[in-house]
């Protein structure tokens, strides 16, 4: 039961010791039902703030978030979040982790277990249901976290650099897995990333953000044929898209670097 996400004119300021910091300014974007959209931007462009605003974890912003046309405030059952950091519960097994949101909702034990087992299979962790996170690789833990979010059956899947801590090869292969899951569930997905390859490999549309304050710089449609696999990185079309995005992103990344470097040295 996927839904459509609309972000309307979002602005967010943070109070810092040096005065108000504009993290986001007038950000608008739309993820139509069942589409995969990525947001890419340099460090400090406010993309994680946007993730927090849409997911309802960051309060006090201007603008509106709409799901299927209805404005929402705060956390919402229709939105599922996958975090960048290690977020599996170390005291629960893979299966128990996935059952977590269902337990919280008081779903009957065996129904809950059944759904969790299907998800273990979907994310390719068959045979690891009874393992603890510490016994798994980083990629497997992140797949557990994704399955846990999907277990709650959100209309919209929101991910903040879920593969950032993983190496490039694992990331490409997990991208394939993610695409396979996305095809199966036709899940409306908004992915925050700083990897151009990842954005192009997965998305229908890539949104490039500017360095502070974060605005939308450009929206680039990714017209590569589907179904895709990570082998697509070899194609010339893929290379051209990466080039186009890098052209836009480079300016912003340089601007970010110029502003943070002197501070970075003095710290």
């Amino acid at each position: 039961m996927p839904g459509a996400l609309v972000v309307e004119n979002i602005s967010k300021r943070f109070a810092t010791s040096a005065g108000a910091l504009a993290a986001l300014e007038g950000v608008s974007l739309a993820v139509p039902q069942g589409r995969f959209v990525s947001i890419i931007g340099p460090s400090g462009c406010g993309k994680s703030t946007l993730f927090g605003v849409v997911g309802g974890l960051v309060p006090d912003y201007e603008g509106r978030v709409l799901i299927d046309g209805a404005p929402v405030h705060g956390t919402h059952d229709d939105i599922g979040m996958v975090f960048q950091e290690e977020s599996t519960f170390p005291w629960l097994t893979v299966l128990e982790n996935i059952m977590f949101p269902l337990d919280a909702r008081g779903m009957a034990r065996n129904e809950c277990r059944e759904r969790a087992e299907r998800l273990v299979h979907l994310v390719g962790l068959d045979g690891f249901g009874n393992s603890y996170p510490a016994e798994l690789s980083g990629g497997m833990r992140q797949r557990t976290a994704i399955a846990r979010t999907l277990a709650a059956e959100p209309k919209i899947l929101l991910m903040d650099e879920p593969f950032a801590a993983l190496d490039e090869q694992t990331r490409l292969l997990l991208g394939d897995k993610l695409l396979q899951i996305w095809r199966e569930l036709a899940q409306t997905t908004l992915l925050i990333t700083h990897s151009i390859t990842e954005a192009v490999q997965l998305s229908d549309e890539v949104v490039v953000m500017t360095y502070r304050p974060g605005r939308i710089k450009r929206v680039i449609p990714i017209d590569l044929p589907r179904p895709r696999s990570s082998e697509i990185v070899e194609s010339a079309a893929f290379g051209r898209l990466v080039g186009t995005i890098w052209h836009d992103l480079r300016e912003e990344a340089l601007r970010g670097l110029a502003q943070t470097e002197p501070q970075g040295v003095s710290h």
């Binding site: 997911g55 309802g56 974890l57 956390t75 059952d77 939105i79 599922g80 979040m81 975090f83 950091e85 290690e86 977020s87 519960f89 170390p90 005291w91 629960l92 977590f100 949101p101 337990d103 919280a104 603890y132 510490a134 709650a152």
Partner: protein, 258 residues
């Protein structure tokens, strides 16, 4: 200290291992010095009674039903005091960790009172609860509360913030947050709290009993002292010592996994 104690208790050693022999010899030497002093007449008679007298008193103590009556009183006081202090300390520690502003506001008082000897509260506790069992439980609870609170609050700081955000994103209620995230994440801290808390709860209860009571092991010890039944007193101290080690070993068994 608790850790070293459990560590050497767990180490599988043979009787003939060098370290075991040194330990046995130390004990033997201490016993010989004791016996020597007892027979020398250097000290006032009865201050250091012969070991045979202590051993006899120990056997008598073990077969006297009255001992177990006092033990039951003390055990109940310790268990109730420790239980109350543990639950209250965990709740307060979680509150301090979950509400950073509240935690910062309370920190100087908790830190200050944690280092203060709890015996100074005995007069107040006696005024409030009388000289019976309740005042002993109160002092035990007061003793256990502070180390448990400090450890739980420190454990709260150690919880990865992303786990809290996961809980919020799944829209957990406050009670679910405590039951499904805080408590399991605090397991290790709570076990350490239990070790420290039980130790100080025993101290608190015995101190209160020694000061003013009509039953309990602490009362029995001070009663022997007052009647100058010194071998009985030593036998009882040995009995308490063995019980305290036993309690420590039992708590040590609950080791933090994962």
């Amino acid at each position: 200290m608790a850790t070293t104690l459990t560590n050497f208790n767990r180490a599988p050693l043979h009787w003939f291992a060098p370290v075991t022999r040194v330990r046995a010899l130390t004990l033997l030497a201490a016993a010989l010095v004791w016996e020597g002093v007892a027979r020398s007449g250097w000290l006032y008679e009865g201050v250091v009674p012969p070991l045979t007298a202590v051993a006899r008193a120990f056997v008598v103590l073990l077969v006297t039903g009255d001992t177990y009556h006092h033990l039951a009183v003390t055990a109940w006081e310790v268990a109730a005091g420790f239980g109350i202090g543990l639950v209250a300390g965990i709740a307060f520690g979680i509150l301090m960790g979950a509400r950073p502003f509240f935690g910062r506001a309370m920190a100087p008082y908790v830190d200050g009172l944690a280092t203060a000897p709890k015996i100074i509260f005995l007069p107040i506790v006696m005024l409030l609860f009388g000289v019976g069992i309740t005042s002993k439980i109160a002092l035990g609870a007061l003793s256990a509360f502070f180390p448990v609170t400090l450890n739980t609050a420190a454990g709260m700081h150690g919880i990865s913030p992303v786990l809290i955000r996961v809980g919020r994103s799944f829209r957990l209620s406050r009670a679910q947050m405590v039951r499904m995230i805080y408590l399991p994440a605090l397991r290790g801290s709570i076990i350490v709290s239990m070790r420290l808390g039980l130790g100080v709860a025993i101290i608190g209860v015995l101190l209160a009993e020694i000061k003013l009571a009509d039953r309990g092991l602490g009362f029995l010890a001070i009663d022997h002292y007052n009647q100058f039944r010194i071998p009985d007193m030593y036998a009882l101290l040995l009995f308490i010592f063995i019980l305290a080690i036993g309690a420590n070993v039992l708590i040590g068994r609950l080791s933090p996994r994962r």
